[in-house]
């Protein structure tokens, strides 16, 4: 039986499946539910400086080859998030699972402030979301668009907290490897690759974009080859752990992500296709696949497709 355990930034995960940010991460009880369903680690929904209601409906649409969403970073604000995370930490400690907090903001300084507040809840890891595609009008081009702006945010957060930090990158850049190198140089301990790809679904008969925000982020099956390519490019550019995220829907997809060089595997949209239990199913399928293919550990397969 393959050993699924996985070392991530000093923490031991029972398996490499990480609930991705923005999926069911809006409460301590939902984070615990994801762990009970089989995730090795869970990421809370991204939180910003102040409460946001998000965009009006429609905020999601399944367009046949994936999901498009523009939730609009709904969140209770950093102060309230501290309670949510502290409670989550409590519920997760009961079962030995790893908690990843996620933050976003409008300026590097604000990133540092939010990070410092959120860090008081002592999540195990802090994810820095510089890549949400849904709020660009409000915050200008996302920070993930250039190495320089990505590094500025990373530095600011690095100084503000003593937690390990993972910086979450965007796929809509010409060279993600360069951006990964810049944020690692600036102090990132890990990379999460990738956030959703900006897209638009138009309903022909309505003659309108479906989402109220018009533009949203593509996740699910359509994102997988983009994510695999980004993970491979990040793997070649930097040595830090990667949480490979995008389009993982079964154990074989998870294997591909690990073969591309991921340390752990983020899972989001699979929860729509298969319910919350998809998290545990993916881990179980990965184990079965490794047994069949003769891999005893994750290390044995990690990055193998890049040889």
């Amino acid at each position: 039986m393959a050993d699924l355990t996985c070392e991530l930034l000093g923490h031991r995960l029972k398996n490499p499946v990480v609930l991705a940010s923005g999926i069911l991460g809006t409460s301590a009880t939902l984070l615990r539910r994801a762990v009970d369903a089989g995730a090795g680690a869970v990421t809370a929904k991204s939180c910003g400086p102040t409460p946001r209601a998000g965009h009006p409906n429609p905020v999601t649409v399944d367009w046949g080859h994936g999901v498009l969403n523009a939730i609009g970073l709904s969140n209770p604000g950093a102060a309230e998030e501290v309670h949510l995370l502290a409670e989550a930490r409590h519920l997760l400690d009961e079962v030995g699972a790893v908690l990843i907090a996620s933050v976003f903001a409008g300026t590097p300084d604000e990133f540092a402030e939010v990070a410092a507040i959120v860090a008081t809840a002592r999540p195990h890891i802090l994810e820095v979301n510089i890549s949400c595609p849904n709020v660009r009008d409000e915050f200008g081009t996302p920070f993930a668009a250039s190495g320089e702006s990505a590094a500025l945010v990373t530095q600011a957060v690095r100084k503000a907290v003593d937690l390990p930090i993972a910086v979450k990158l965007a796929p809509n850049v010409p060279d993600i490897g360069r951006i990964a190198a810049a944020v690692v140089e600036a102090g990132a301990d890990a990379i999460t690759a990738i956030n959703t790809m900006p897209g638009m679904i138009i309903d022909a008969e309505a003659a309108r974009p479906v989402l109220s925000n018009r533009v949203g982020g593509i996740s699910g099956p359509a994102l997988k080859p983009i994510a695999l390519r980004c993970v491979a490019e990040v793997r070649r550019a930097v040595k830090v752990p990667i949480i490979g995220t995008g389009g993982v829907n079964n154990g074989r997809d998870a294997a591909e992500m690990l073969l591309a060089g991921a340390t752990a595997v983020g899972v989001g949209t699979a929860v729509w296709y298969g319910g919350v239990s998809a998290l545990g199913r993916i881990a179980a399928e990965l184990e079965g696949w490794m047994d069949r293919e003769g891999y005893a550990t994750l290390d044995a397969m990690r990055g193998l497709a890049l040889r």
Binding site: T29, V59, A206, V210
Partner: protein, 243 residues
């Protein structure tokens, strides 16, 4: 993806409630819902009032529901679904209880129950006679109808629980099925538990994705519901026999 469905009929049910009948059917269970999108206006969840042809019943209370009331036969509504978990009929004898638009999914349920030859009674609660909905439709199905109004302008005076309390005793239903305001459901749940009758309750929550992703429809844990219960994914119908 949404399907754009044309309206073939708009029925006035009361002063602020209309039923919208579509050109097509939708394979679904009573208690499931659809997300209905009016482009340029918004998207909201609506219980399925009949599956073939698909029928929704809408109370005009705000932007989306009022825009619904502007629709004419021939116009289209964009629908995705069916979503969520519906009711599951059990036994031979069903007691239904609804308030407000909650009677819509119960009508669909009653239809299915009668088709299976079950005995069905429904308690319809409302503030006043003008708010009472669908009595004739239930009667046409051969369902026993019991109306309560808060002001006594129709049927028994009081809340719906006044009627259900008695009927649980006299009919000994195999289960109680309900949809309506939170307060009503809470009272019914207690009543059913005390009487030792199974119940299936359809909860309303703030829904955004409707896909079990965004977390906005999480319900507070209760005696019955587990922590992290999502109305769009695990519900809207909660069954006392599933916990």
């Amino acid at each position: 993806m949404h399907r754009a469905l044309r309206l073939t009929e708009v029925r006035v049910e009361n002063y602020r409630t209309r039923s919208f009948v579509f050109e097509d059917g939708l394979a679904c269970q009573p208690g499931q819902f659809v997300m209905a999108w009016l482009p340029g206006v918004g998207e909201k969840p609506f219980s399925i009032a009949a599956s073939n042809p698909l029928t929704l019943m809408v109370v005009a209370v705000g932007p989306v529901s009022e825009a619904f009331h502007q629709l004419q036969v021939g116009q289209r509504v964009w629908v995705r679904g069916p979503l969520g978990q519906g009711f599951r009929l059990k036994g031979r004898r069903a007691l239904l209880a609804g308030g407000g638009y909650g009677v819509a999914p119960l009508l669909f349920l009653a239809q299915q129950a009668r088709q299976q030859g079950m005995d069905v009674d429904v308690c319809i609660g409302a503030r006043t006679a003008a708010d009472v909905l669908l009595t004739e439709a239930f009667e046409r199905l051969g369902v026993g109808v019991h109306v309560t109004t808060e002001d006594g302008s129709l049927g028994q005076t009081g809340l719906v629980t006044a009627a259900t309390g008695k009927l649980i005793e006299t009919l000994r239903p195999d289960a109680l099925y309900a949809c309506g305001p939170v307060r009503m459901l809470e009272a019914l749940e207690k009543q059913a538990r005390q009487a030792g009758v199974d119940c299936q309750l359809s909860w309303e929550a703030h829904m955004r994705c409707g896909m079990g992703l965004c977390g906005s429809c999480e319900m507070p844990a209760s005696e019955g519901r587990l922590p992290g219960w999502l109305a769009c994914l695990d519900g809207p119908v909660w069954r006392s026999d599933e916990s």
